[in-house]
Symmetry: C2
Subunit: 205 residues, 2 copies
DNA sequence: TAGATTGTTAATCGATTAACAATC
DNA sequence: TAGATTGTTAATCGATTAACAATC
């Protein structure tokens, strides 16, 4: 692989650049500068250039970046020049909403497996997908090559679900449960907790 | 007011400490150390102590922190020793899910106003709340003292909604639309975009 | 050519960690 | 008292910004 070690924080900004580039393209633009891109994402032009230059020389002096080209490069870097299958565990409001969410499709992801442990929900359909029993989750996921899962169960079940996921090929977890989960270093975890974001802002009110 | 200037990144960690403390309390613990708390949130003990000490001396040498006491202090600091009313704009899957979300109640927030611009949705009920017309949003919010709003409309309407919110008393926005919005410096904005989080992780897969 | 903008280096800034005296 | 853990200072580490030669 021989991949140069890139700081995690830079990787985290690439999706924001990509999002802005896609929108620029939708607006009919063909090229953009680090200055303009910086204004779109709220980051200095110098940082944009520094971040991008970690991966190659994708710009042109005096001109800027070709939006289509840079966009493709970032997709390649992030490994989203393909569609990833995703499993969701927990079909409460959050899991249900995520399953129906249309925003994943054109950004590299599709939900292919959904689980819940409640007898009333197992077997029901959400869109095209039948809700499956969480008790069978390990076996079910292991029949696929799903590497990404979202946890949307109550906080006190999140660690249990995470432990089970370790028995599958899942290597990336997006955790909506408001609790930290412990997993080995080779598993990536990201957290989304709206109350935490709100509490951050109330300090300033 | 005379509030010492605290780095924003420290404020952002307080909700995580609070979340862990609440869980410890629920487990029956009465005291905790920076070491233990650090393990719960995945942050070094030194940093926990440094962060907390910005606001006062809440611990006791040789013993640690009283969970109940520290928890109350953090709630006071974050201004969540009360319940904030919240408005949600956009009743698609995300907005609907947020409206029904039970996780806000005991963390300082309650949804009191929900808006949508589609005639089929206006007037329908979600739980106890009637969906109101986004066209009336400014007037409706201005009859209340709502200071927090969540935007859950499509990306191309987010900026318009944000501009309208500026005509109200809203000072904090949690934006679920996958686009950056431009607002004056005195308005706080936080972003939640699951696809962005997923794209961050695929780099490592 | 003149103007614009990249890629990159050096300087600055800020955040994290290590260490330890104070003290419960 | 002995052991533990805080609050804080100094050292380290890493990230951001400023500046500019290269060049389209």
């Amino acid at each position: 692989m021989e991949k140069k070690k890139i700081p995690d924080i830079i990787i985290g900004r690439l999706p924001l650049y990509l999002r802005a580039l896609n929108r620029m393209a939708a607006n009919g633009s063909a090229i953009s500068s680090s200055k303009e891109l910086g204004e779109w994402v709220g980051i200095s032009a110098a940082q944009i250039r520094k971040d991008i230059s970690q991966f190659g020389e994708f710009g042109k002096q005096g001109t800027g970046y070709n939006i289509e080209f840079l966009s493709r490069k970032i997709r390649e870097i992030l490994n989203i020049d393909r569609i990833w299958d995703v499993a969701i565990i927990g079909m409460g409001d959050i899991g249900h909403g995520l399953t129906e969410y249309q925003g994943f499709r054109n950004r590299g992801f599709q939900v292919t497996l959904v689980f819940d442990n409640s007898p009333e929900k197992i077997g029901t359909k959400i869109g095209d997908l039948a809700v499956q029993d969480t008790a069978d989750m390990v076996d079910t996921i292991n029949k696929t090559d799903v590497k990404i899962a979202m946890i949307a169960v109550p906080a006190d079940h999140a660690q249990t679900v995470a432990d089970e996921l370790l028995k599958t090929g899942v290597k990336a977890i997006l955790n909506y449960a408001p609790i930290r989960i412990n997993v080995p270093d080779n598993i990536r975890v990201q957290y989304i907790d709206p109350a935490t974001h709100l509490q951050w802002m109330t300090y300033y009110l």
